[in-house]
């Protein structure tokens, strides 16, 4: 009897203890599960900009030709003429084909310390609805809902398409918005001259401001739509005046306008930002 009386309270205690342990285990499991969920979700959304920027040593007098248009409007004559002009002016030239123009490419662009960046890219400041959008530079990277999630959520990356028909077919690419330039590009530009040859680059000043905020000296682009042939011709003339004749930004643009005029179809003009860069010369 005695042993029975002893056993009963011991059994109760044992059961209570076991129950407590079990609850503790469940609580622990739930906590761990929640932590895993939080880590998993936040891990995907952590901005890659928190990563350490690469620190390339400054390279003197390098120019990048970012030829995204090589995918749709290839112009070997332009590439050769421009390369010759740049070499004549004493620059080393890095040429990037359209396929290389990805989100990661843009992210690391300032780290190369280019003196001049020639963006021969598709760009747009027009939404599919026809309303105005921030100037967006095209990449050749197809849209994915599992890549660059944080940048997509924060409007640093937009979706872009060459036309309404292509959009209907689901052919969409990532586009670089001004927010990406200021928030996700690694490093800073070192007084870089940005020549943005695409459409509507100065339809609004958001992209220009973003580049200047990131360290660019001047941002030159079109105030409306432009055809590939006209932007190629105008840029060739502009580089001649700016780099070979060593004229100021303002003079170079004026001379270029005298020679090639506005775009014959879209009537757009080359312009620059900020106004303070008018007297800037190489």
């Amino acid at each position: 009897m005695k042993s029975n009386k002893r056993q009963k309270p011991e059994g109760m205690k044992h059961r209570v203890r076991a129950e407590k342990k079990r609850e503790e285990r469940i609580a622990l499991t739930v906590t761990v599960a929640l932590l895993i969920a939080i880590i998993f979700v936040s891990g995907l959304l952590i901005p890659p900009m928190l990563k350490q920027p690469s620190t390339n040593s400054p390279s003197v007098s390098k120019v990048a030709i970012v030829d995204h248009l090589s995918l749709t409007y290839s112009n070997q004559t332009f590439v050769e003429t421009t390369t010759n002009t740049l070499k004549q002016a004493g620059y080393a030239v890095d040429y990037y084909r359209g396929e290389e123009v990805t989100v990661e490419f843009y992210r690391n662009l300032p780290a190369h310390n280019y003196a001049i960046i020639i963006l021969r890219v598709h760009s747009s400041a027009t939404q599919s609805t026809g309303s105005e959008a921030p100037v967006t530079l095209f990449t050749s990277e197809r849209v994915s809902t599992t890549k660059h999630v944080y940048e997509q959520m924060t409007d640093q990356l937009m979706w872009v398409s060459y036309s309404g028909e292509e959009k209907e077919k689901g052919i969409e690419y990532f586009g670089i918005s001004p927010l990406f330039v200021t928030q996700s590009m690694r490093g800073r530009f070192q007084n870089t001259v940005i020549i943005m040859m695409g459409c509507e680059g100065l339809e609004n000043s958001l992209m220009a401001k973003a580049f200047v905020e990131k360290g660019a000296k001047v941002y030159i682009s079109w105030d409306g739509s432009v055809s590939a042939s006209h932007t190629d011709t105008a840029t060739t003339h502009l580089l001649q005046h700016f780099l070979i004749e060593r004229r100021t930004v303002d003079e170079s643009l004026l001379e270029t306008f005298k020679e090639v005029g506005s775009d014959p179809v879209y009537e757009s003009l080359l312009d620059y930002y900020p106004v303070e860069a008018c007297d800037y010369a190489i």
Partner: protein, 175 residues
């Protein structure tokens, strides 16, 4: 020796003939052009250096109206052997009868029309102008973007809540 020279001459003649044939393809000098079709369904490309005339051609393409379209006839390498000088293109609703003709009429009587103004009653059936290096910006569909994460989080939360409820229920049963 003679046969070799003859062969060489023949090759040269054939080669130059090939080049002539190749250059007989319809060509354009401007970046923009319109194809017009006259009352006989004959077609010819029309180029213009004038923005005003170009705007009229584009409008005609859009509303599919018939007008008198023409210019000063000049020799050109295309299937008709002529074109309207791009600096002289005119689009009109009414013209004098003396200059009215057809594409075929000009081609068959080229000697008469060369250097003179001619117009044909035609519709613009095609417009070609260089495409801009632009595109469209599409706002990101954030719901589509977050859907998998919302689903996953919901599942984990549901499992957690179910576990807590189960544990509470067990404990109350024991008590």
């Amino acid at each position: 020796m003679t046969s070799s020279i003859s062969m060489l001459m023949l090759i040269t003649v054939l080669w130059s003939r090939c080049n002539i044939l190749a250059s007989a393809e319809p060509t354009t000098t401007q970046e923009r052009w319109a194809t017009i079709q006259d009352i006989n369904k004959d077609q010819i490309k029309v180029e213009t250096t004038s923005d005003k005339v170009w705007a009229e051609l584009v409008e005609l393409y859009q509303n599919q109206s018939q007008r008198w379209i023409g210019g000063i006839v000049e020799k050109y390498v295309n299937e008709w052997g002529f074109r309207f000088n791009p600096d002289t293109i005119m689009v009109a609703e009414v013209t004098i009868e003396a200059i009215q003709t057809t594409i075929r009429g000009i081609s068959q009587n080229l000697g008469y029309w060369l250097g003179n103004m001619a117009v044909v009653a035609a519709r613009v059936i095609e417009i070609h102008q260089p495409q801009p290096v632009g595109g469209i910006v599409i706002p990101v569909d954030k719901f589509v973007l977050l859907a998998p994460y919302i689903g996953l989080t919901s599942i984990i939360v549901a499992i957690s809540v179910a576990s807590v409820l189960y544990a509470k229920r067990k404990r109350s049963q024991k008590a």
